[in-house]
Amino acid sequence: MSTYEYILRELSKGIATTLELTLIVFVGGFLLGFILAVARTYGIRPARWLSIGYIELIRGTPMLLQLYIIGFGVPMAIRSYFPQFTINPFWAVAIGMILNSGAYQAEFIRGAFNSIESGQMEAAMALGMSKWEIIKNITFPQAFRIEFPNMTNELIYILKYSSLAMLLAVSEMMYQAKSVGAVTFMYGEIYLMVGAIYLVFALILARIMNRIEMKLYIPGVTTRATSRKGLLG
């Protein structure tokens, strides 16, 4: 087996973890973001305050610090009561990144909710719909389309920043790159390869998201201009 084959094999182990982490964080962050955005836009006052406080706290502190707190701080605190407690580093990072991404995705969704003119809410109320029915059937389907380009951004952002997981010893792509580098001393070649792999996945994800965006297009809700084709078609 050549050195390059060895490097590629080790890196590909990391790719699976990177993609897994990216998708889990993207979906989890979206669900959390949706709840936060609904609470902030349509919730009663305490719910609004909680949502705002949470978002400001997350946005105002570094993600790495948040990951350390979830990965090291919280487990240590729990261990002082339950000495046997351990947390899988993958899930520590996944939870930490979901908590982080949720705050950002909440802001995208909130912005989209706010951009829908209040007349549609009134019309839905006048038909006799409840608040939840209005969110589910009227405002969210539009907000989702409006915020979709931001979701593409967030997905690619998560893909790249999942590399922070290496600092909690999660064997994603960057972690694997460093390990293989330590064995082969081919750091330059390895990091170039890793960079290329990230770039290819970013382009593929952007292309998939653009396709979905075009599928979701409704005249008057979003514009064609935002549904342009990506670099990979």
């Binding site: 009134e122 019309a123 109320m125 006799g128 409840s130």
Partner: protein, 253 residues
């Protein structure tokens, strides 16, 4: 035909220091069309919005089929489903086609099956002569067509009364006629209607009574011919004079 559907007693509403409604009372019987006119800021829109509690009134009572719907015990969502509302700016749901706009209330609020809702929505669209636009989105329709879809959306719910809030004010002049034609046909079919509008011709043609709103109260009221051609109060005369000037100037040009 003399069954009283809506009765409003001493309705009051203030926004901060601004007293928008200062005690409005009137009623509408089944099958009647009443038209509300008056200068901007007189409280016409606020009065309509109080009726289905899009705006919460501060005082007074609103009886809908004899039940006081200002009471907190009333299920307001159920009441709203029986009161149609047509807005100045149409307020169609932008992500839904014309047909889906009409269907959604039937499905979500009236819990109809998709098939039943579709049939009924098509009938409502036929009523406003828009069956051929069923699968277009609001952005692909003219203002007049959008407003007719909005009327179909209200109509399909089989409401006991429809409230119109300046339904033609946001339309280009050449599109006003098609919307008024639909409203006239509804009035002739004895759909109960309460219409805020500046369309004097419409009021003369179909209204059972005109209510002239001024400074938050009903300043003058009566039969259309009497109010339009022989108003008693100075404020009513001034208002109508301004409306007529606007129209005649338009004709002169």
């Amino acid at each position: 035909m003399s069954e009283e559907i809506l009765k409003i007693v001493d309705l009051k509403k203030r926004f901060g220091k601004n007293e928008v409604l200062r005690g409005v009372s009137f009623s509408i019987n089944k099958g009647q069309t009443k038209v509300v006119i008056g200068p901007s800021g007189a409280g016409k829109s606020t009065m309509l919005r109080c009726i289905n509690r899009l705006v919460e009134p501060d005082g007074g009572k609103i009886y809908f089929n004899g039940v006081d719907i200002t009471s907190k015990k009333v299920n307001i969502m159920e009441v709203r489903s029986k009161i149609g509302f047509v807005f100045q700016h149409f307020n169609l749901f932008k992500h839904l086609t014309a047909l889906e706009n009409v269907k959604i209330g039937l499905k979500i609020v009236k819990k109809m099956s998709d098939k039943e809702a579709t049939e009924r929505a098509y009938k409502a669209l036929e009523n406003v002569k828009l069956s051929d636009c069923a699968h277009k989105y609001p952005a692909q329709l003219s203002g007049g067509q959008q407003q007719r879809v909005a009327i179909a959306r209200a109509l399909a719910m089989d409401p006991e009364i429809i409230l119109f809030d300046e339904p033609t004010s946001a339309l280009d002049p050449e599109l006003v006629g098609e919307v008024l034609d639909v409203m006239k046909s509804l009035s002739k079919k004895h759909v109960t209607m309460l219409v805020v509008t500046h369309e004097i011709g419409f009021a003369l043609g179909v209204a059972d009574e005109i209510l002239f709103f001024y400074k938050g109260i009903i300043w003058e009221r009566g039969e259309p011919n009497k109010i339009i051609y022989n108003p008693q109060k100075k404020e009513t005369k001034d208002f109508l004079k301004r409306i007529f000037e606007l129209y005649s100037r338009g004709e002169a040009e």
